[in-house]
Symmetry: C2
Subunit: 343 residues, 2 copies
């Protein structure tokens, strides 16, 4: 393989107020660096786009520091190794690493995870078999703990997290009720993903439809959106229900929160129904990653679960794709194909 001479990368140009715009990002060209001892040089193949990226654009304390202005946007990626100065990793290997929005990247060999391109499609290493998959698996099983016959509700039901939450809930004998934006996504969730029901949150009578789809209440609400869905879920929470909280995408672009105040209703439901609400970040469950890949890898090979990707071609289209993702315009896991798998 010819060594590339120029790296194209996308940096954070300005901190957005509300929705990011084209001006939030800047495409740059930089020289390709040389790997030092213990490092590998990588050619990005698939870049993962995920809702958490919006939070990293804010200059605000969170569980990780924000992206600095002028720094490469963060993101997980699957890459091909171009050069290696790390034992056990060779050119031509594929690895998964958080190398960000760029065509070429350096990484510590110790910080990448080798991916077997024969075991599953490469892109799944940042999807159903990657961070979003582990988020669904660990949050649902470790916090949600669905029991046979219980009702599990999850929004963004055709997204990478929601779609796996629903399918794992079904595997554990629970009823899966999804929420998604639009009839096409809802039909896909019911027909392809096996949800017992999927409701369109854009319907004017969404709250009533959700209640009708959950006649025995809600035992597990896997929270990844907040907003109207949370508000509609609260009155349906059952005694001793569980709410893993992994995302709040409906609020990520919001700049103000007019009333009425929903806190009293939420806290009252938590109190009178003895609900457990627990926030988590996928890294909290890193110790489950091997078991997760074994379980979900097997279910995938056996055809027991399916996944859907929304592939965007070209790094320069990543900004628009992330903006669309935050609006819910994607249909499935968003991956940017930065370059072909094989050159």
């Amino acid at each position: 393989m010819t060594r590339p001479t120029v790296n194209k990368r996308i940096v954070l140009a300005a901190r957005p107020t509300g929705e990011p715009t084209a001006d939030t990002f800047r495409l740059e060209e930089t020289p390709v660096p040389e790997p030092g001892a213990g490092e590998v040089l990588l050619r990005t193949v698939y870049l993962s786009l995920d809702p958490y990226m919006r939070g990293r654009m804010n200059d605000k304390k969170s569980y990780v520091p924000p992206v600095e202005l002028g720094a490469v946007m963060v993101g997980g990626a699957v890459s091909e190794v171009i050069e290696s100065r790390y034992d056990g990793i060779a050119p031509g290997d594929y690895v998964e690493a958080p190398t960000g929005w760029q065509e070429v990247a350096l990484a510590s060999g110790a910080a990448v995870r080798k991916v077997d391109p024969a075991a599953a499609p490469l892109s799944t290493a940042v999807g159903v078999l990657g961070m979003p998959g582990l988020t669904a698996y660990a949050g649902l099983l470790e916090i949600g703990k669905p029991q046979p016959g219980e009702t599990v509700v999850v929004a963004a039901a055709t997204g990478p997290v929601g779609s796996l939450v629903g399918q794992i809930a079904k595997r554990f004998g629970a009823r899966a009720v999804g929420v998604a934006g639009g009839a096409e996504k809802c039909a896909f969730a019911e027909r392809e993903l096996g949800f017992d029901a999927c409701l369109d949150h854009r319907a004017p009578d969404f709250a009533e439809r959700l209640a009708a789809a959950c006649p025995a209440g809600i035992d597990v609400y896997f929270e990844n959106v907040g907003g109207l869905v949370l508000e509609s879920v609260v009155p349906l929470l059952n005694p001793f229900s569980r709410m893993p909280v992994c995302g709040l995408v409906a609020w990520y672009n919001a700049t103000s929160f007019p009333g009425p105040d929903g806190t009293p209703a939420l806290m009252r439901a938590i109190l009178s129904n003895r609900v457990t609400v627990r926030g988590f970040i996928v890294v909290d469950f890193a110790h489950l990653a091997e078991r997760f890949r074994a379980d979900v890898g097997r279910w995938l090979r056996d055809g027991e679960i399916v996944y859907r990707e929304d592939v965007v071609d070209g790094l320069e289209r990543a900004p628009a794709a992330l903006i669309g993702l935050l609006r819910g315009e994607n249909f499935g896991k968003v991956v940017v194909r930065v370059a072909p798998e094989r050159l």
Copy 2:
């Protein structure tokens, strides 16, 4: 003892909108019933008044059914046995039972708990050694799980639950920060109860004072008030902090909740700090009652914890006392002395 011929009782006359008023209650006189097989006839000595009673006045699904209109107001009480048709309980014994706002009551002998008047003051059976005590003990230790050096925050710090939460937190090596209404209560919490600090929630700069009193953030927030205190606590929650939710008294009389909406800030804190919020009702921890009474009974006898009661004389003053309690006007555990301990 002469058998009483008339029972005075207070019934729910009307469901209040907002704050209860004198018209919410009605004093009635009824004949004294005869105990059937297995029953005991009781003379109420101390009636407990507690914030949860406000919730029972609403015609609304909760963890227990509401008080019916015209029915005796619910409440725990310590009583003397007048007559007994239950083996093992004799006239002159003292028992604790949820017999409500009345001077004389029938109860199933199997549903009362005998109280030893020599072990501790009788009124403590509905206070520090009763339901409020178990609420504090179980909620703090089973959900809050304070660790040495951590910071525990609790409101209504001079009330029966808050005062015990703070003192148990100290016993377990944590820092205890209380919140109370007014300088007198705060001084009592710091000087008599041993809180490291107690803040007046009426201070215009309460949020800043709370932050200053919790320089290392908050690890356990024992939630019994909601409202402004919760709002001020949210930005201070530490990673992996715990929030047992046992009451929301600031909102019990509220009829509307204007904005802004505090839900996004609460949910974001839960997510990014991986907070566990868990509602509980004291009956969920009934299995801990014996261990609780042994532990707290010993700490009381050893003088390691103290408690404060706010005693009101006469059943007819119970309505005004409950209204005051919901306004935070009480100073310590509110008990109504319905009759003398010995006639």
